[in-house]
Symmetry: C2
Subunit: 450 residues, 2 copies
């Protein structure tokens, strides 16, 4: 399948973040004879989930890069250039540098862009959204160095992680403003949200919930954020972390259909309305694993999973997308927390009756082993079928893989009774005890309420 | 169901280690009206997997106890007494203190005993097996304090963990003697065994494989271990960690049937040959999840899983035992490693053709995040069906839950193609990156070889 001419590829992938890179790797694995080119406009690409850590733990954007070898090592070609147009009839893309490159199959992985809401003062100096561009991140970092009062608008994952990392810099007084009753409230149930707010408050961050930013005031440069209640919070730097919107301009211009939530419409095989054009990651419309309805979830991990489906399907349909279940983990101050699947509120809103089981223990055994953290788990089951639909957990750093374990049990629709007798391994230095192991106990306690 | 007389219980459980405790908790959860008594002979009970850590990290047997509240908190009664006989026709047990107590259902959780092989010198002073008894462990600890040259015979989990913990005491020169080609060779494939041997050697432990201890020599007290090759290794203290045998004397005396591997014969419901007597944990015969054949695996985590099956079945059959898959994790020096299901050799020996996928990454992202460890994963699939049959992994401390995640995928017989698009969550401080996530990459690479 390898073409001889420089201006034609079997596969072109547009976008060099998580989805694009995973698509390139998967395309080369499944179709090793195919010529694959990944076109991205950035000279360097940030690890998307690592961005908050640039501002504290890592110290600089250079320490948070996806290595180019991730693409080129797969045998794909890497082109740093911007795509300005797609001609779907001619099967070509045109780039900023003036190249016209043909494709057999095109994969859109154009990602998302941060939302800057239309409130007064948004154009003042030192008002930022969180962009992935390395030069931008370098600029933001130097502005944070020169600032004293940071207000972060939005208490989701990005906002909370940015707050925790920025307070580690030492020079900043940090305030988080969240319009919902709790930070992280879209992902977690109330109890875990409150714990996350608590650890951030303990670390010296001011957390304001149920509060909306109305205006940013200042004389040329930000000086304060005016809230709906009339209070003005002092701020010489303001960062918005209120979400993203899919980056679909290129697709729209090419006449590709857009879905109900504003992302590129795709089928279960990740094909757009044009059968030779696929879309994966933040730019592609998602459906819920549970309801089959459109879902607003956007995560790098979902993006790579979609890329592995879409790229395997380029020349032959091999895989179906079951829809997103939603698996998150985070660490705020020393509190690691994770979630997979539906929360209790989401289940209720979907009209499902559910049964909840809780377990508390420590993540080592005996509890005196070094590195032990209190561990709390909540499992949520569909009452009618007994199937696990979600779980929320906090403990030490093993939470990342425990959230993934819960995700596996949700994806296989495992019944409470099966989880109650789940065969796990346990070890003093690594897990809770076999008697107290969280998953089996939470499942057993839920089961007995069904 | 609660009896009024002191000498009759609905349920009697014999044995107070992991299986007994989990059985008591489960019996009380499933049959809250039932009177449940747990009879154990020990005043205090050690956390079984924690025993090696008494000798280093924890510092004393008192820091490694299963709290009595685990039993009494469930509403079960705790009796410290030895059971000397079971009368299965009269439905009674007789104790050392002379009590005769009636039961409706009896649960045997009598555990296992360490093996002391019949080699010359086994009766010398300072030659030990690893027993669970707290007084014994206190005695062994003080003997280790007074010693200089420790030889551990057996390089399985107990032997390797004992060696690593004892070398942390600082006063001991430690040698491990293993008769197989590698330490941990029954559980892990060669590559991980070699890494484990390497980290122990780096820490100053002498590891001798392919070597059998022939005799222990000494004048009243151990002075050396003579190997088959004629070499004598200096030793003023010797510990055997070569395995355990099921503790079935009481069951045998009562005329209960013993299985092909010497443990108490049980059906899938954990019932013995007597329908009112159940057996769970190390004393009960096990079958393989894969072949249905007798299995020699004995682990505290298996014991609790069996207890949760058996105790739920006491008055009504509610659960089946699918057989043991085998899930282990351990941490030697700073190397954490885990396994679930079959290794490549075991699959080959069972006559299964298998396909293997490897992935290497780091367990944080980007790799510069604090706490990052190199991570290596091997997944083993049944070639014919594509189902995951096992996995072996090493990285940082999240390995405990990652082994459990692999265990979940094995227990649900998940296909390589499903794992390749598994929806996981990822986070810089907690997991590998979504592009490099071990499970999906190892599965994809195996799939493409099928």
């Amino acid at each position: 399948m390898r073409g001889n001419e420089m201006d034609k590829k079997d596969v072109i992938i547009i976008g060099g973040s998580a989805a694009g890179v995973a698509a390139a790797i998967t395309a080369r694995r499944h179709y090793p004879e195919a010529s694959v080119a990944l076109i991205r406009k950035e000279a360097q690409v940030s690890v998307p989930c690592g961005i908050p850590y640039i501002f504290g733990t890592l110290g600089s954007p250079e320490k948070n890069l996806i290595p180019d070898a991730a693409v080129t090592g797969s045998g794909a070609e890497l082109l740093v250039d911007g795509v300005t147009a797609i001609d779907k009839d001619a099967h070509t893309v045109t780039t900023e540098s003036g190249r016209v490159i043909g494709y057999k199959k095109l994969m859109l992985a154009t990602g998302s862009l941060p939302i800057l809401p239309p409130i007064p003062g948004r154009d003042l100096e030192n008002v930022f959204t969180v962009q992935k561009d390395v030069d931008f991140l370098r600029h933001l970092s130097s502005r944070l160095d020169e600032s004293r009062d940071l207000v972060i608008i939005g208490g989701g994952f990005i906002g909370m992680e940015m707050a925790d990392e920025c307070r580690k810099r030492g020079n900043l007084s940090v305030t988080v403003v969240e319009m919902l009753p709790h930070c992280l409230f879209i992902a977690f149930d109330k109890e875990l949200c409150e714990r996350a707010e608590g650890v951030l408050t303990d670390a010296g961050v001011r957390v304001m919930t149920n509060t909306r930013a109305k205006e940013i005031v200042g004389n040329g440069k930000a000086e304060g954020v005016v809230l709906e209640n009339g209070e003005t919070v002092k701020a010489d730097i303001v960062i918005f972390g209120i979400g993203t919107r899919p980056n679909v301009e290129l697709a729209k211009q090419a006449g590709i259909e857009i879905g109900p939530l504003g992302a590129i419409e795709v089928d279960r095989y990740m094909r757009t309305s044009n059968p030779d054009i696929f879309a994966v990651g933040d730019c592609a419309e998602k459906t819920s694993f549970f309801s089959g309805q459109p879902s607003p979830l956007r995560l790098a991990s979902i993006a790579t999973s979609e890329a592995r489906i879409g790229a395997a399907n380029l020349f032959e349909i091999r895989r179906e997308n079951p829809g997103v279940i939603g698996v998150f983990s985070t660490k705020i101050n020393e509190l690691a927390m994770g979630i997979a699947g539906m929360g209790e509120r989401a289940a209720h809103d979907a009209g499902m009756e559910c049964v909840v089981g809780y377990a508390e223990t420590v993540d080592r055994h005996p509890g005196g082993m070094p590195g032990a953290h209190p561990a709390r788990l909540k499992l949520i089951f569909h009452k009618y079928s007994g199937a696990l639909i979600g779980g929320q957990v906090c403990c030490g750093d093993s939470i990342g893989e425990m959230a993934n374990l819960i995700a596996a049990l949700v994806q296989t629709r495992m019944h409470a009774d099966q989880i109650a007798v789940f065969q796990m391994g346990t070890h003093p230095a690594l897990t809770a005890s076999p008697i107290a192991y969280q998953l089996v106990n939470a499942a057993e306690l839920a089961l007995l309420k069904m």
